[in-house]
Point group: C2
C-alpha cells in the first residue's frame, strides 16, 4: 500500500495542527508517513504567482482567525499572535537526519514554533530542540552549513511541485492530493473506502452538515 506523503513548510501553523494527527490517521489505515519539508515561498510566489497568504488582503485576516479556531476545535495550543519564522534552517536540519527520524524532528520543531512560541528560525532554538532529541550541537551546526541538506530542501520542493503540491500541509497518496488540515477527514474517508470517493452518507452528516432525515 502507498505511504502517506506529508508535504509541509515549517512556516505554516496549519502544518503543525495536521502534524499532531497524521500518524494516528496513517496507522488506522496501516500506512506509513513520509515527511517532506518544502518551500511555500517557491510554490506560492514563484510558481503560482500569488502573494504570501498573510500579505493577501482579506485572506490574510481570515486565515489568522481561522487557524486559531481550528486549533481550538482540535484541542491544540497555538501561539498568539502568529509571527512567521524563517523556515529554512529547520527544514535543513530535518534533511540532515535519517528518514526514520524525520517525523520525530518535524513534529518537535513544529510544536516548538507553533505551540511553544519559540522562533525556529534561530540557531540556538534549533540546538535546543535537537538536543532534546539527542542530537549534538556540532551536528546541528553542520546541518545548517553543509550544502547537502540545503540541496535536499531544493530537491524536495521541486519534487513536490512535480507532484502538483502547492500548499501546506498537503497529504499525497498515489496520485491523490489532499490540501489543508481541514482535508484530513477527506483523506480518512478516501482510505476507508479503499482509495475511492463514494457517497458517505453517515460520515457526510458530520462533515458536510448533511442531515438526511
Amino acid at each position: 500500500m502507498d505511504p502517506i506523503d506529508f508535504y509541509f513548510d515549517f512556516i505554516s501553523p496549519y502544518a503543525f495542527l495536521a502534524s499532531t494527527r497524521i500518524e494516528q490517521l496513517a496507522q488506522r489505515h496501516g500506512r506509513t508517513v513520509r515527511w517532506h519539508a518544502f518551500r511555500l515561498g517557491v510554490t506560492v510566489v514563484k510558481v503560482m504567482g500569488l502573494r504570501p497568504m498573510l500579505e493577501t488582503p482579506l485572506k490574510g485576516d481570515y486565515t489568522l482567525k481561522d487557524v486559531a479556531r481550528v486549533a481550538k476545535m482540535m484541542g491544540e495550543p497555538l501561539v498568539s499572535p502568529i509571527t512567521l519564522p524563517d523556515p529554512r534552517p529547520a527544514a535543513r536540519l530535518l534533511y540532515s537526519v535519517s528518514t526514520q527520524r524525520r517525523g520525530e524532528f518535524a513534529k518537535a520543531l513544529l510544536r516548538a514554533q507553533w505551540a511553544g512560541g519559540l522562533d525556529i528560525g534561530k540557531e540556538e532554538v534549533l540546538r535546543g530542540v535537537a538536543g532534546e532529541l539527542g542530537m549534538e550541537p556540532a551536528a546541528v551546526d553542520h546541518a545548517l552549513r553543509d550544502p547537502g541538506p540545503k540541496e535536499a530542501l531544493a530537491a524536495a520542493t521541486k519534487s513536490a511541485i512535480d507532484r502538483g503540491v502547492f500548499g501546506s500541509p498537503t497529504c499525497a497518496v498515489g496520485t491523490e492530493l489532499f490540501w489543508g488540515t481541514d482535508r484530513l477527514w477527506l483523506l480518512d474517508l478516501y482510505l476507508s473506502a479503499g482509495e475511492r470517493y463514494i457517497p458517505f452518507e453517515r460520515q457526510a452528516q458530520a462533515v458536510l452538515g448533511v442531515h438526511l432525515q
Copy 2:
C-alpha cells in the same frame, strides 16, 4: 438570532454544492438564509491581486479534481468538464426578484449550470430557468437591462468585501466567516455550540480524522 448570509458567485461550482445543503443546515439551527451573489472577479483579481483560481498553476488542476470528488461524496451530480459561465446575467436576474424568492432562484440557476450543463451566461437559458419559476420572459429581459439589478450586484460585492468576504461560497454569521463548502461542518458545529468554538471530541473524530481511544 443572526441569519446565515450566504455569499456566492454563480461562476463557482463549490457554491452550487453548498447551495444544496445550506438551507437544511440553517433550519436545524432555527436560522434563515439570506442569499447574496457577489463578484469573485472583483475580490480575487482587483482586491486581493491574485489570479483567477483555474488560471493559477497547480491550484487550477487541483481544484478541478477536488470539486469533482466533493460532489461525488455529497452525492450531487456535477457537469464535466467544468466550463465557467459569465456569472453577471444570472446575478442581475437574482437581484431583480424579491429577497424572499432569491434562494429559490439562486438554487435553480446554480443547478442549471453545474448539474444541468446549461450556460447561465446566456439569456435564453435564463429565460428557461426563470420561466419554470413562473417569471415572464419580459421580466427577465427587464432584469438584464435595468440598471437597478446591476447596481445591486455592485453594491453587494462592495458589502461582501466590507465584511471580509473574498471566496465563494462564504457563510457569514455575525462577525464569523466560513469560507468553502468544506467548512459547512465548522459552521454547523459553531452554531451547535451556541456560536462558540470548543473542542468537539466526538464530531472531530469524524471531521478531523481524530480517533481518541
